[in-house]
Symmetry: C2
Subunit: 184 residues, 2 copies
DNA sequence: TGATCTCTGTACCGATCGGTACAGAGTCGG
DNA sequence: CCGACTCTGTACCGATCGGTACAGAGATCA
């Protein structure tokens, strides 16, 4: 891995946190330079398209991570129930038990949605479809309905946990999901 | 009702829509003047505290509406099951079947949360508590758990419906909630 | 009519916004 | 040692940000 790629990857991770905290509009270049440790010169060297390109890179990175860690196992793992449990475990860990916000969910609520509508929709549609596939393979009835409800409950749990400042809300929601998803 | 109050009330409603679409940081004074039809002079006459005071007024207005239309009936209506059905009906109507976003939920996700943390937490806590109260009065088991899950599912449904650009997701979620909440 | 109060438009403030231009530091193969 | 290429800091751009100051329009009442 060249030094360039490593730096760019590190920058993407840092930029993601800034977007997560401030949203797309609210993520000022000065906040991004502070967090990444990169000056404007470097930033526009890595992302000539400016904030828009940074956001694209961040969304692609997140999408890639979820595909690798969660969606693919749900679709392909020989043991679909294990894949579902893994999804819940990885989700808890990724969102830091509710302390971390879903960037894509946050983007979906604001007017940022229009700009990245395709990517945002694709992310949630992929999650819903992969989970439905796993439920089908596990012979659970109403797979589509359960899958949609689970994806939606995770997003809602993130909102509510953050609103109440109580991560236990998120943990409880995931426990409930495990029961509901795997019930016959 | 004096003209002043009417104008201020109308302004609050218009400002609420701007916050809803752009978030707190993203709601520029120029967007607010455009939407309200009021110049800066009038705006700062009605809200001397600027954007912060506008947001406070908007949050108070929303909280008042929900208390009147939903929370109070859940707590006090002689028929708690009817109050729950009313909650679902009013929720569907308020959020335009998923086309409209929850301003308070959106605020909760961004860094705006810290500024209005108390109000945001109070709103969701009141909803959860009022619904739990109604479920208790209706002799449903696990009232607290069901209530928390319902509040969370509504927020999640708003996120997912908007992310996918498909309001049917929201409608389905409400139908599911009616079944779950009123089940023995 | 004249005094008063409510409301509004406009000019203006310093700060910050996202973005550009560009010189040059640092590193590398030849 | 010499270009060539990668990366970075800085100066600068016009636009817009939230907020202030204030004169005065318009209605109201004595």
């Amino acid at each position: 891995m060249s030094r360039t790629v490593a730096d760019r990857a590190a920058a993407i991770a840092a930029v993601a946190e800034v977007f997560r905290e401030h949203g797309f509009e609210g993520a000022s270049l000065s906040a991004i330079t502070a967090r990444t440790g990169l000056g404007k010169g470097s930033l526009y060297y890595f992302f000539p398209g400016g904030k828009e390109e940074m956001a694209e890179a961040v969304l692609a990175e997140i999408d890639g991570w979820f595909t690798r860690a969660i969606f693919s196992p749900l679709r392909d793992d020989a043991d679909p129930e294990a894949a579902i449990r893994r999804m819940l475990r990885e989700t808890d860990s990724y969102f830091r038990s509710g302390r971390r916000v879903c960037l894509i969910g946050a983007f979906a609520l604001g007017d940022t949605r229009d700009r990245f509508a395709a990517r945002i929709a694709a992310y949630f549609a992929a999650w819903r479809a992969a989970l439905a596939e796993a439920l089908m393979r596990a012979n659970r009835p109403e797979a589509s309905e359960r899958a949609e409800h689970a994806v939606l409950a995770i997003q809602g749990a993130l909102v509510l946990a953050r609103a109440l400042g109580d991560q236990a809300v998120f943990v409880r929601a995931l426990e409930r999901l495990e029961r509901e998803l795997l019930a016959e």
